[in-house]
Symmetry: C2
Subunit: 419 residues, 2 copies
């Protein structure tokens, strides 16, 4: 019932807010001990999670989800063990809260400290992957935040059981179990309530496809940390080394085509293409990369089909690639300005000056000179764990580790100072 | 004409975006030289600004604006000189861009630098104060950002003339004059276009009353830096020193009642009130502070009227104060949780433990122990200049200086690294 729902979601957010206060007072040791307990309980109760997961898989088969989707949905003993290990890894990371960023005293004697503190309550809205339920909870708790989880309906049984296990685990710790809230309703209205619950929720983090993320960005009045859509480009300059260019192109396109830091378009200087068309064609063929090209690319590369606006604008998330030819780096930058999603952009060139121009003028979280866009990733960069990759400019940009889940407080200590 | 407008506002934003690219390549010295030139041109052309201002003042009189409003609208030679001096002060501040926050090399040799860069294009939406036109332009340009200004209709002639002067000044500098765009339309639709222009505008900053700010927060899909509404509390604990408590209360309430860091409610411990009611009453009377109290406060303080929900929830922005009595610090925190705007909150007590509880558990940008809330201010804290005071938790919290107008880029330099 909708009215019932409304009350429940708000009540859950209020419970999370209260739990966040208690959690914010816990020591790093208490939080770490809790994460280790959760890991042990997940390991011990993995069978109950797999049983619940079977229900989701059965429903998924009935609905005819494709293999990739079913794979993301499928849990095994090993995957649950990875969840538990993930929590143990988060326990080892530095506590991002309670760090004094600066400390100074005004002439009147008023001491000012700028200290990192938890955000409060995080609203996590995500799709089919049940691992987000554990990963996001672990990162939230470690950084002193409560979390309200709203997973996709296709994984609802798995998610619900995982949260039940987390709750049983938290009962053995100093963290109140209300710090992890799971919205069991599959009603769309439940999600929309989260969008405007500014009083109780401090930030929304959507994880999933472009349409989910846009729905949150367009409808939420709660601040959003926008993640994930990566329409990434590899610009191969006239002065690109052919071996580096081809190795990077293949890696960025084929290593994991479905992730956000994969390349979707190669922008190729016409001179380079003219010189290297045979090597390029052979490499693309060997790696089963299907080409959608502009007029010149279609003419030069056998088997290439004509690219349209959709090819430039959207992620393939497959081994398809769009190829755009240009006369200079400025045209490459203009194309990225028009179609990029400010995620990761690479230039391959031996000319340092051209590389500088590209890296200064392209507006994105991560700019690469002679390297693959695949490195835009919290673990690849050594952040330990990530809650998502921000494609926005405010608060956090690029891979977001634990510090992205904190804000600051100015703490002033005086003895009667007035102005 | 509306359609005409639509094209114009978008065209202005596109021009700003292009100018931002050029601006982002300028050196600190070039930006500083431009600010000094602007200051000189403002000084030289102040009379044209005063002439335009007369038109706004005449319209204001016809519309019957009150004295405070007319005062904010009024420009004089001295005020324009202050604008110019403000630009010279901003020229002296550290450039917030191009700072390498961290620099490391992965095992595979890929070098990673995290560097501060301008946000791009700032959309500034503000009300009657023409000083924002100059101040915000100066801060934007110094931090390498273009700015689109949408001022209130009551100051339109002043703002338009100020921007004309800025444009004439910029023509003598390396900064393209298109970096400062002024939306001359008083059409509401022009403002609403800014709300959703994500492609061209990187952040919106509203400056003004609560209803303006809420309109932006509720309708914008462009990320917003929320500023300004301060429903601030002074909690006078059972163990508060009476002299400190009264001095801080009077300062926070009466020094500048119309600003956001002024106190609006005193929360008073019942034991302290019982002991100090005569001193409190006398102090309030001497300072012409009108009291709206809860049941006990009305009983104890002569002349106090009954406070209702509105008194707890809203800013007076006058020398009125609401007084709420409590039995302990927890009740004080609950009241602030219910009605505070996360701006500035103070506790007056000689008990360090009670102060700690308050400062840890109250969720606000600035927490004060034995000092006035009036210090939440960029210049008071030594930030040099501020673009506003953030009451949100993401990106920037509390007084926002130049660093709040930047984001970061990860710049990766490799020699063919793949994953």
């Amino acid at each position: 019932m909708t009215v019932m729902n409304k009350v429940n979601v708000e009540e859950q957010a209020i419970l999370a807010k209260k739990a966040a206060k208690i959690l914010s007072l816990l020591s790093t040791e208490e939080k770490n001990a809790a994460l280790l307990t959760l890991a042990d309980v997940l390991d011990a109760e993995y069978e109950t999670i797999l049983t619940a997961n079977k229900e989701d898989l059965e429903n998924g088969r009935k609905k005819g989800y494709d293999d990739a989707y079913m794979d993301r949905l499928t849990l095994t003993k090993e995957r649950v063990e990875e969840f538990a290990q993930g929590l143990r890894d988060v326990a080892k990371l530095e506590d991002p809260t309670g760090i004094v960023n600066s400390d100074w005293t005004l002439d009147n004697g008023l001491n000012v400290q700028k200290i990192t503190v938890p955000l409060g309550v995080i609203g996590m809205i995500y799709e089919a992957r049940p691992n987000v339920t554990v990963d996001a909870s672990g990162l939230a708790l470690k950084s002193g935040n409560a979390i309200v989880l709203k997973g996709g309906s296709s994984a609802i049984h798995s998610n619900k059981q995982i949260v039940d296990v987390i709750h049983r685990g938290l009962e053995q710790t100093k963290i109140p179990k209300e710090a992890v809230q799971f919205i069991a309703s599959t009603d769309r209205e439940a999600t929309q309530q989260l969008f405007t619950m500014k009083k109780h929720i401090d930030v929304l983090i959507p994880r999933g496809g472009g349409s989910l993320i846009q729905a949150v960005v367009n409808n939420a009045t709660v601040p959003v940390l926008e993640t994930g859509v990566g329409n990434c480009h590899i610009y191969i300059d006239a002065e690109a080394d052919v071996n580096k260019a081809l190795a990077i192109l293949v890696n960025a396109k084929t290593d994991r085509p479905a992730v956000c830091n994969a390349a979707e378009t190669a922008i190729i200087h016409k001179d380079w293409l003219d010189t290297n068309k045979d090597a390029l064609t052979q490499t693309l063929k060997e790696n089963n990369i299907a080409v959608h090209g502009d007029e010149l690319a279609v003419k030069v590369i056998p088997g290439a089909v004509s690219a349209g606006e959709d090819d430039w604008a959207n992620e393939y998330l497959s081994t398809d690639i769009a190829i755009k030819t240009v006369n200079n780096v400025e045209e490459a930058i203009d194309h990225i300005d028009a179609y990029g999603t400010k995620h990761s952009e690479a230039i391959i060139t031996e000319n340092k000056e051209t590389a500088d121009t590209f890296m200064k003028l392209v507006d994105a979280a991560a700019l690469y000179h002679n390297a693959s866009t695949r490195f835009t990733d919290g673990s690849a960069l050594g952040f330990g764990a990530e809650i998502g990759i921000s494609t926005q400019k405010l608060h956090a940009r690029g891979p977001m580790g634990l510090p992205a889940l904190t804000t600051i407080k100015y703490m002033m200590n005086g003895n009667g100072q007035t102005r």
